[in-house]
């Protein structure tokens, strides 16, 4: 089950800022939902292969031919904030 420190960890991992009330509320929801999902933990899946995709396709690749670039007008139209052609974002420290 998810405790308060785990909630804080999840909020940070998911970059979600929540009020204390929201946090408590969602924590309760998540635990209730997890309780409901406990049923699958009882299922025997020994030796069962994971199914990450519903269709068994392989080797889907494309040629190295260029397509269209976005015009600078299009880039400008979606951008939140720009400066000299760059996207301007809040101060970031080098990682």
């Amino acid at each position: 089950m998810i405790d308060a420190p785990e909630m804080e960890h999840l909020k940070k991992l998911a970059r979600l800022s929540l009020t204390e009330e929201e946090t408590a509320h969602l924590q309760g929801d998540l635990n209730r939902i997890l309780g409901y999902f406990e049923k699958i933990s009882g299922l025997d899946t020994d030796g069962v292969e994971e199914m990450p995709r519903p269709v068994a396709l392989v080797n889907v690749t494309r040629s190295d031919e260029p397509g269209d670039l976005l015009s600078s007008g299009d880039v400008a139209s979606v951008a939140v904030e720009r400066q000299d052609g760059f996207f301007r974002v809040p101060r970031t420290v080098d990682q």
């Binding site: 690749t61 260029p66 397509g67 400066q83 760059f86 996207f87 101060r91 080098d94």
Partner: protein
């Protein structure tokens, strides 16, 4: 007392026309920010990745060149982390089934293990203007195809690490996989280094990231080894930090401690079906592979190059291209190498011009070599002509137009010798009396008569014979 254990993580930007997962053009270098983007590059809602087959083939070639296993199942995973330079806030990379595994590279006779090489997409570039409360993001580079190669911790010294990188670069360039030049960001390196006493378990490893030249790789390793040695000798413990390299201060500094390590929540990329690399596919790639430096080295040695020269040329893609082309014009390989590695390199480095941007052609250098070899001109004359040949002049044309060809007609030389001997009876008598050195003055006169265009050895022989005979 302490032994260094070094591992490298190298990122190579691939030489493709389009990005790793979209048809966005890849030739963005030096262009205005955010002008080489498409919906996937920006991470717009609703976009989907598609795998660039050329990138896969380059990765296969690279893996084969490093002796890796490349056959079988391989797939992409999402590596999830939040950072503005990754517009989707995840990178499409490879996790437990990379495209190449378990290879090696011989460095100075030592076997360096290559644990894995995999494909992934690059992030954009962030710049942080000083004193500003914002950062600036350019996504032109976002989505570019990268090979990430990870070695086993088999390297032992900073010099060896640097040599390893040189070899990797040469291979990448020879295969056409990547331009691999750190100056353009096409080859980037992170290092891992720890110290231990032989026989004892490995020590705590420290990572140094974002090294953008081979020199800083070497220097940062030297610094870290010294630093860790001091810590351990003082009885302290090395902490598992992630460091950056301060080029100005020539020191490492802590960027991140272990606690801040990210949980990347890897899961298989649902938008991309996996790849199954068949033996037939591998064979096709192998058959199309350009000559590797090691093979080139052997071939050049067989062609007559000295070991050291064969190595130098084989591991420099521009030198080897030039030499191979020049050899097709029938000039001696070692002599060509002598010119290339000697006077030509000298001329180029004085001007800071790389070989591929000079006007010297392989045909012209070959002609120069043939002219000297065939005794049409002397070595000294060739050196005098070199500056013009470097600027594109054809040495055969120069020799013809200026009548530079050395006099080889013995009769002409004998006539000149005869004239000089006749005109200098006192000197001749002096020589015959035992003063051998006096012949030099006569020699100089004969050469002047011939305009300097005669093989010195021949002149000496004929002069000497004449003086002796007339005695």
């Amino acid at each position: 007392m302490f032994r260094a254990v070094i591992g490298l993580e190298v990122h190579l930007q691939l030489s493709t026309r389009t990005k790793m997962f979209s048809r966005c053009r890849a030739d963005y270098f030096g262009e205005e920010p955010n002008t080489f983007t498409d919906p996937l590059t920006l991470g717009l809602p609703g976009t989907l990745p598609t795998i660039n087959r050329e990138a896969v083939e380059l990765a296969l070639m690279f893996g084969l060149a490093l002796g890796c296993d490349v056959e079988g199942f391989t797939q992409f995973h999402r590596k999830n982390y939040f950072y503005p330079d990754a517009p989707k806030n995840y990178q499409i990379s490879q996790y437990d089934r990379p495209i190449a595994r378990d290879g090696h590279l011989m460095v100075g006779g030592r076997r360096i293990g290559i644990r894995r090489a995999h494909l992934e997409d690059d992030a954009g570039k962030l710049i942080h203007p000083t004193y500003a409360d914002y950062s600036l993001l350019d996504l032109n580079r976002a989505g570019m195809p990268l090979i990430e190669m990870v070695t086993e911790p088999d390297l032992g010294t900073p010099e060896e690490a640097r040599e390893f990188l040189h070899l990797v670069r040469a291979i990448a360039q020879a295969l056409g996989v990547s331009d691999a030049n750190p100056e353009e960001g096409k080859m980037r390196c992170d290092v891992n280094v720890s110290l231990h006493r032989p026989g004892e378990p490995f020590g705590t490893k420290v990572e140094v990231k974002n090294l953008n030249s081979f020199k800083s790789v070497q220097r940062s390793l030297e610094y870290e080894i010294a630093r860790q040695t001091r810590v351990l000798e003082d009885g302290g413990r090395v902490t598992q930090d992630t460091m950056g390299w301060d080029e100005g201060g020539q020191r490492t500094f802590v960027m991140r401690t272990k606690e801040e390590e990210s949980d990347y929540r890897y899961f298989p990329e649902p938008d991309l079906p996996p790849l199954v690399i068949t033996p037939e596919w591998v064979e096709r790639v192998r058959a199309a592979m350009p000559e590797l430096p090691a093979a080139k080295e052997r071939r050049l040695a067989l062609a007559g190059l000295r070991e050291a020269d064969a190595f130098t040329v084989a591991y420099d893609v521009e030198l080897s291209r030039f030499l191979d082309e020049a050899m097709t014009h029938g000039a001696d390989a070692q002599k060509l190498a002598n010119w290339l590695l000697g006077d030509v390199t000298g001329w180029l480095s004085e001007r800071g011009t790389p070989l591929e941007r000079s006007r010297l052609t392989p045909a012209h250098l070959a002609a120069l070599v043939r002219l000297v070899d065939g005794a049409a001109i002397t070595g000294k004359m060739a050196k005098d002509l070199l500056p013009e040949v470097m600027e594109g002049a054809d040495p055969e044309v120069l020799v013809r137009e200026r009548g530079l060809a050395v006099v080889t007609d013995t009769a002409e030389i004998e006539a000149a010798v005869a004239r000089v001997v006749e005109a200098n009876p006192a000197v001749v008598a002096n020589i015959r009396a035992g003063n051998a050195k006096a012949v030099n003055a006569l020699f100089g006169q004969v050469m002047r008569e011939l305009g300097g265009k005669a093989k010195p050895e021949l002149v000496r022989d004929l002069l000497g014979a004449r003086v002796a005979v007339d005695g």
